[in-house]
């Protein structure tokens, strides 16, 4: 089944923070908070689950071509970062679930 950012948003427990391309396809999952590590190892099309919320996550998402950033554990973005995500066309989703539970939900869907 084709899973897109919109598919994820239609599932329980996920809400939009900044959505530029809801039809972006999610092909895998990567979990990590150490930006240098994520940049090198996340694959294009991954949903990247993190608890980091500073503006540098946008550069990392752009460079690694992930389908979306999923903020776990109810982490919020500051208004400035949210605006920058919209400007850069990066999909950001938030969830109150832990990284594990988000990944488990995605694992069922993918």
């Amino acid at each position: 089944m084709k899973v897109t950012v919109n598919t994820l948003l239609s599932m329980d427990g996920f809400s939009p923070v900044a959505i530029a391309d809801g039809e972006a396809q999610i092909e895998g999952v990567y979990i990590g908070d150490l930006l240098s590590w994520v940049m090198g190892r996340a694959n294009a099309g991954d949903a990247w689950i993190t608890i980091m919320s500073n503006i540098n996550i946008l550069a990392v998402a752009t460079l690694s071509d992930v389908a979306c950033i999923i903020l776990a554990e109810g982490v919020q973005l500051e208004e400035e970062v949210k605006t920058a995500a919209q400007q850069k066309g990066i999909n950001v989703i938030s969830s109150d679930m832990s990284a594990y539970h988000i990944a488990a939900a995605l694992s069922k869907a993918l």
Binding site: L34, S36, G40, M52, N56, I57
Partner: protein
């Protein structure tokens, strides 16, 4: 004679949050040139790590990216404090970054090793109290 395309950027040292602008721009430029995605990823990651280093340690600097027929070359120059012990700096996990940088998800001592990992050639010229110049190349398929 091979034709070269050159991009030049100033990396702002005062604004940690703006790091990544040059590498994101290079990524777009390389896409327009039709460079393969895996090559673009390696170039932009290596360059972003370099940008972050210049912001954290050196108060900014300049980045030059040249595209030749054989390779893409990134030259990062700063007039920061220099690297005392390059061998030590190249070790994964070694970092002199302050705690506030670590809380942003950087400073884990992976910057220089990542730059080496993602490029085919890397040279560091550094002098304490004078500055650092790093040259990296990613080969293009012939």
């Amino acid at each position: 004679m091979s034709e070269q395309v050159i991009f030049t950027f100033d990396v702002d040292g005062d604004d940690f949050t703006s790091a990544g602008q040059a590498s994101s721009q290079v990524k777009r430029n390389l896409r327009q040139l039709g460079i393969a995605p895996d090559i673009i990823k390696r170039v932009s990651i290596a360059m972003y790590e370099g940008e972050i280093n210049m912001v954290i340690h050196a108060g900014g600097g300049t980045a030059n990216v040249a595209v030749t027929e054989e390779y893409i070359e990134i030259v990062l120059s700063d007039q920061g404090p220099g690297i005392k012990d390059i061998t030590q700096a190249m070790q994964e996990g070694f970092s002199t970054a302050p705690d506030d940088v670590r809380s942003l998800g950087f400073g884990a001592g992976m910057g220089l090793p990542n730059m080496k990992r993602y490029t085919d050639y890397m040279d560091i010229q550094s002098q304490v109290d004078v500055g650092t110049t790093i040259t990296m190349r990613v080969n293009l398929p012939s």
